[in-house]
């Protein structure tokens, strides 16, 4: 097991904006920059709520740079994964998160590392914000020993302490999230569980079973629908009788949030977490977001939507550019500084790639480990009567 502490402290950094490793070379001294500013953010639509999250958000320079770094790292990592896939170094199913970075970064900024999070298969971004290194994520994608799931999971299956994956069956993670919230409530630890799913998944029956249980028992569960407008090739209008995903819990209060703005997501998540921690039960958040890539690597992503549509989002509401421009316009950072960060991230991703392509594959014994708990060691029957393998852990 990798050092849990490292992961937790990574997550702490990603949440609080305090990055121990930040080595930023700047031409001006920090004193020249505005240390803190307040920004207008989009008002959330509310469902069964008298009051919503604030319409102004405070941002410190440190936080801003940290969110930028987080989102940019996820972006670079995903673009690298795309490249490795095209080179056939990553095989199989691979779902990229670029475009949606503000969701992962904003949520993580508003919860504690000790809170819980579970999502579907589009998991690379959350794996990173929950504290796993780029190196381990890319190595998981390439199926190497040093991958976060020991190279046994691949794209859809990544995990970390308090991060329950990485789930391949659409919708199946949602009742788990409600169950995790029940555990939090039972243990009285004031933790919440962030339970994520897509707009496509929102039509699975299991969600409604979960909503009911969570509301019935007032569980500290934040259900978050990442509405990126499509479930594979199906646009939301074609799949859902109501596309107001924040209202679909009916008796559960809901928020519709601009998921392209990291500050909006942060404020809304903060509001939702407070709601849960106050014992008011579950809440639903719809994050309106967009995925730049196709659904998976076999989907070019342009047969069911236009290139113009994608271009429009990229140019008008890209989460990274939006944050960068805000900071620049308020003199919270300089262009050179962002460039430095970009270079640093590129380097980090390159190093991670180096690792992910040179680390050995897991040994064959791993095939049979982790099927059952390790006591007692068991023989795994396989291909033919005489080929038995041992499962030792």
């Amino acid at each position: 097991m990798k050092t849990m502490l490292a992961i937790i402290s990574n997550a702490l950094c990603r949440m609080t904006g305090r990055n121990a490793g930040a080595r930023v070379v700047v031409s001006r001294s920090f004193a020249d920059f505005t240390p803190q500013a307040t920004f207008d953010i989009k008002k959330c639509d509310l469902h069964r709520l008298e009051e919503g999250p604030p319409v102004k958000a405070e941002l410190t320079r440190e936080q801003g740079l940290q969110y930028y770094r987080t989102m940019q790292t996820v972006r670079r990592m995903e673009l690298k994964a795309d490249q490795l896939y095209k080179q056939k170094i990553i095989r199989g199913f691979c779902h990229l998160y670029d475009g949606q970075e503000a969701c992962a970064a904003g949520i993580e900024a508003a919860i504690n590392p000790s809170d819980h999070l579970i999502t579907a298969y589009r998991a690379h971004g959350y794996t990173y914000t929950r504290g796993v290194s780029v190196k381990e994520i890319l190595a998981e994608l390439t199926g190497r020993r040093g991958g976060v799931a020991k190279g046994k999971g691949g794209s859809m299956h990544m995990y970390a302490p308090h991060f329950y994956g990485g789930n391949g069956i659409v919708g199946a993670q949602v009742p788990l999230g409600a169950g995790i919230a029940l555990a939090c409530q039972y243990q009285g630890n004031n933790q919440v569980c962030v339970t994520l799913y897509g707009d496509g998944a929102a039509n699975q029956g299991q969600l409604f079973e979960s909503y009911n249980m969570a509301a019935l028992w007032k569980l500290p569960c934040i259900f978050i629908c990442e509405n990126n407008k499509y479930g594979m090739g199906t646009s939301v209008e074609r799949a859902a009788a109501s596309t107001d995903y924040y209202k679909r819990g009916d008796f559960i209060p809901g928020l519709r949030v601009d998921g392209m703005d990291v500050l909006c997501v942060r404020e809304a998540t903060q509001f939702a977490a407070d709601h849960c921690r106050a014992g008011k039960g579950p809440i639903i958040m719809e994050l309106q977001t967009y995925r730049y890539h196709g659904h998976s690597m076999s989907d070019p992503g342009v047969s069911y939507r236009t290139r113009e549509e994608i271009q429009e989002v990229r140019s008008k509401s890209d989460p990274i550019s939006m944050l960068k421009e805000r900071m620049l316009s308020h003199n919270m950072a300089s262009v050179e500084e962002f460039k430095e960060i970009d270079i640093e991230i590129r380097k980090q991703v390159e190093e991670a790639t180096q690792f992910a392509t040179s680390d050995p594959e897991p040994p064959l014994e791993e095939l049979c480990n982790h099927i059952f708990s390790k006591n007692p060691p068991l023989e795994v029957r396989g291909t033919s009567p005489w080929s038995k393998l041992k499962s030792v852990s």
Partner: protein, 402 residues
């Protein structure tokens, strides 16, 4: 229970019908009897009262007749099609001839993930070929409703791995409808299609072969084709069949397998295995993709060991063709069954057990199952996990030297 003389009597009666002669060593009810009889080598298994033509030559003649469009198959042109195109062709024929037929599933209106329904929405309209939301349990339950009300329902589950949310609807609702309503209602008009089996890098949730889960459920039919010609004929049989059918499509073959497929509709009978190659020493049984592995293994065994293999494509997993398999084992005395799904509780276990009951005294070696490991379907270990030709070949060697 019939005694063996009764069997020989029946067989003698039957042989008189036939002009063809063949020599087969056949064991009936624990007694070896040699018969000189004809092509329609009817076989009787102990507990079966139904008589089915299942002789190897018959099967071959049937398939030849099929090929020349002589039995229940179309007169008319053929076209080069891969497996997904032959599925499209079957669906096209169905929509054209059956005005009640509807096709639905995730993204099927755009052709589906594997392109099986390409063009059908444009040809037949969006009220007959339509996308469903992402909700497998709903899709199947909805399909049962459509079918019980009299329409022909063809539901697509995007991957066989995603069929489990619908498990209850299939096993408890679809399969038992006829029985529990005393034959008043049924959903025989329902066919569920799903891509199935390994693809090379599908990992845990895009590779599974779940046929054995459903094989435990009386009232369902489960069918798996090995190539384009079978896919079309068997799918049309499933659609026509008055029982709920699950049709699993080997997704690795969608593009890989190409054949001359008749454009007109034709059917291939369900619950009939096909003998692809006759042999005398070992019977090899499988279905879907694995059949192609076994065909290669049969050539290897012939070349390297001088061992003659009989290769049988089971085609229908439930209810399966016991006669053809048992008859073959009676002849060869050895049986190897191979599938990708994990060995424990896989359908090979059922075949093995039945053959052991029926052909105990004919067996020259323990029945071999060459199957997937008892692990989840692994990501990077797939080549090691799958029952490849070398593993099957080893098993044959062991059986021969037993």
């Amino acid at each position: 229970m019939r005694s063996s003389w009764q069997y020989s009597n029946i067989i003698q009666q039957l042989t008189t019908i036939n002009p063809y002669k063949s020599h087969i060593c056949c064991c009936l009810y624990r007694q070896k009897v040699e018969f000189n009889y004809s092509i329609c080598a009817f076989l009787f298994c102990r507990n079966t009262t139904k008589i089915q033509p299942a002789g190897s030559q018959l099967a071959r003649v049937l398939s030849i007749l099929h090929f020349f469009n002589l039995i229940g198959s179309p007169k008319g042109p053929t076209q080069k099609m891969n497996l997904f195109q032959s599925i499209t062709s079957a669906l096209d024929n169905t929509l054209a001839s059956d005005p009640t037929a509807v096709i639905f599933g995730e993204d099927v209106a755009f052709g589906g993930v594997f392109r099986c329904t390409v063009g059908l929405r444009d040809k037949y309209g969006k009220d007959r070929v339509f996308n469903t939301p992402l909700c497998e349990q709903g899709i199947v339950g909805f399909g049962i409703g459509v079918a019980v009300a009299g329409a022909t329902a063809i539901a697509e589950i995007q991957f066989a791995d995603y069929i489990f949310p619908a498990f209850d609807q299939i096993v408890n609702e679809a399969a038992k409808y006829r029985y529990r309503s005393g034959n008043l209602f049924d959903c025989g008009n329902l066919t569920i299609r799903a891509p199935w089996g390994c693809v090379g890098h599908g990992a845990l949730y895009h590779s599974q072969s779940p046929e054995a889960f459903f094989a435990h459920c009386p009232g369902l039919k489960i069918v798996i084709p090995r190539g384009p010609i079978q896919a079309k004929g068997l799918l049309l049989s499933c659609i026509a069949d008055k029982n709920p059918c699950i049709f699993f499509e080997p997704k690795i073959l969608y593009r890989a397998a190409v054949e001359q497929v008749p454009e007109e509709p034709y059917t291939i009978p369900l619950s009939q295995a096909e003998i692809l190659q006759e042999g005398s020493d070992v019977t090899l049984v499988s279905w879907g993709t694995q059949i192609h592995v076994l065909k290669e293994v049969a050539s290897m065994a012939q070349e390297k060991l001088g061992v003659s293999c009989e290769v049988i494509d089971l085609q229908t997993i439930l209810p399966w063709d016991i006669e053809t398999v048992c008859k073959s084992v009676v002849k060869t005395g050895r049986l190897l069954i191979s599938h990708e799904a994990p060995v424990t509780g896989g359908f090979a276990a059922e075949i093995s057990s039945t053959v052991q009951e029926e052909c105990f005294l004919n067996l020259e070696a323990p029945i071999s199952r060459v199957c997937g490991y008892d692990t989840p379907f692994p990501h990077i270990f797939e080549p090691f996990y799958t029952p490849d030709k070398w593993k099957c070949f080893e098993a044959i060697k062991k059986m021969i030297n037993y």
